[in-house]
Structures are given as structure tokens and as C-alpha cells.
Symmetry: C2
Subunit: 179 residues, 2 copies
């Protein structure tokens, strides 16, 4: 669609293809096996089903970060300002301090990765909590927008189930990955 | 909390207790066994994990209705204006026409039921689509706000996993239900 929008509302962010999302959860659990992740962090709304599926397979809890548009931030939350490159809006990502703590080994899950602005906000929140980022798992990375490779260049583990390296009105080109 | 707010963010709407939510999904599947429900409808955000869990157990797809605050409604969606009694805001509940159709037998799932405003909006959308409402499943009904009993009096099947009949600063009273 116009504006490099990839329409996925028939399985990922409006209608939910439950068996497919569960398969994504299993794949993420495989990728992060043997890492001692103890908590999954995602951000509302469309990351929630994938995070729920992965948390279920991995047997660990999940927390979804909230998008606060009011500008009022209370003392009992960690927060980070995020500007969405795709949606052209800005919000505060907030999580209650009681649900993220030093000692947590965190896997961040989201549906999309474009410029990486949401992930950078979540990583900022993880740092504020004194928790450890183990890595990120993404359903669809827009490789041509560079956010994922920038994070990898900084040494951050980013696993994307699909990386779209180019998109036109009629074709998607996926990056080959060894999995 | 003040304003009849029940704080459930440690398992239901911020941190997610995945095994407990899955148990809710199994209970909802039991309650609606033998009804030929073919689609679950919920509304973002906190209904999503419960709806996902129930859809997983029942082997049917789910759709989450979006909350549109922009006021711009396109032609390709069904929509209903909803005023949240608890959150004191108004939004348009919208669902793409491609994901709800006549012939669908719909189970509506949500985390909370207070006055029933969100459920009434979802039922309006189901009517617009020419689909059939089989019933509603709710995690927590605030019985003292009357929305659930009003819907039942209209002949609508409403199953709530817990009904809080009164709440004070120190105590919750649950309604006895035969299940």
C-alpha cells in the first residue's frame, strides 16, 4: 500500500490466524532456547498475540508496554518517548516499575521492525529498570528501512521471522536467512 | 482503587499471567461447546490475550475490533460509537467488512463488563454485518454496574468467569454461579 505500508490485517493485526501465530511463537522459542530469558516484553497492540504465543511455549510471563498519548507520566512507571516512522505519531511507551526489575533477562517481541524506534524505546525502558536485554524477535522486518541492521551492528541480537528487502506495488523480495 | 477501578494489571491487562489466561480460554471453550461458534470478536487491547487463548482452544479464528479516535470512518468498515463508562472516553469501534460477514456465528469476548457499552457497540457491529451473536464471555463482570444483567434480561447469553457484586477499599464480594 502507499507509504511502504505492508497490509497484514488478515492474519497479524486485525484478524488473527491463531495457528500461524502459535507457529511463530514456537519458532521464537526455538531461536531463544538456552538463553535463560525469563520475561517477554512487547508493546500494544499487535505484538500481543505473538508475545502471548511465545510466552506460552517458553513457559514465562509477558508484559505489554502501554502507549500513553496523554503526556502525563506518573512516578511509578518507566517511560520512553517513541516516534513511529510508519504511523507518523509520537507516544510515551510506559511500563509499571513493578513489572520489570534488575535481574530480568528480557526478550523483546514485536510485529514490525522498520527504523527501530519502538525497539529503541523498549531498550531504553529495559536499561532504566536495570534489566538485561537478551535479544529481539520480530515477525516482519522491513530490511530496506535499516533499523534491524543498525541494531545488529551495535551487537544486539535481532531475529526476524521474515525480512522484506524490497517492496513494490506487485512484489516483495525476502532476505534469505539460515534458520 | 478510586472510581470503582479494579486493579488487574498484574495478570490481565499489563503483565499477563499466561497459564491463567489459557485456563480462562479453556473455561470459555467449555461454556460455548456445542454452539457452532465460528469466530471470536474482541476489542483492543486487554481482551486480546483471552480471545487468543479461547480461539486457540476452540480452533477458530479471532478478530480484534480497533478503537479509532480520529473520527474518520472509511467505507470499508463497520463501526459503532462507544463511550467507556470506566475510562470516561468515547471512540469508534471499527472492524473491516472483510473480516465479519453474514453466516458468522460470533462469540464476543472482553476482559471487563461494567455498563455494557463496549458490548453494545460490538453487538451493533455484528448486526451491521448480518452475522449472528451466539453470546458473550467476560473475564470480570462488575455486577453492581448492571450491564450484564441488563443484557441477560434482553435474552443475550452472557457468561462471566467472575461477577463482582460489590467492592469496597478492602473487600470484593463475588456472585455465586453454578458452572
Amino acid at each position: 500500500m502507499p507509504g511502504d505500508i505492508l497490509k497484514v490485517d488478515n492474519f497479524l493485526n486485525h484478524a488473527i490466524d491463531v495457528p500461524f501465530i502459535l507457529e511463530m511463537g514456537r519458532e521464537i522459542a526455538n531461536l531463544y532456547a538456552k538463553t535463560n530469558v525469563n520475561k517477554i516484553l512487547t508493546i500494544e497492540t499487535s505484538g500481543i498475540p505473538i508475545a502471548f504465543a511465545a510466552a506460552q511455549v517458553m513457559g514465562i510471563p509477558m508484559v505489554f508496554v502501554k502507549k500513553n498519548k496523554s503526556g502525563n507520566i506518573s512516578d511509578d512507571v518507566y517511560s520512553a518517548s517513541v516516534t513511529s516512522f510508519t504511523k507518523k505519531n509520537t507516544y510515551d511507551a510506559v511500563v509499571s516499575k513493578e513489572f520489570l526489575a534488575s535481574g530480568d533477562r528480557v526478550l523483546v517481541i514485536d510485529d514490525f521492525l522498520a527504523k527501530g524506534n519502538a525497539l529503541n524505546g523498549l531498550m531504553d525502558i529495559i536499561r532504566q529498570a536495570g534489566a538485561e536485554l537478551v535479544g529481539c524477535a520480530i515477525a516482519i522486518e522491513k530490511g530496506f528501512q535499516g533499523g534491524g541492521d543498525e541494531l545488529r551492528a551495535r551487537g544486539i541480537r535481532v531475529e526476524s521471522l521474515a525480512i522484506v528487502d524490497s517492496m513494490t506495488d506487485t512484489a516483495l523480495t525476502f532476505r534469505k536467512q539460515s534458520m
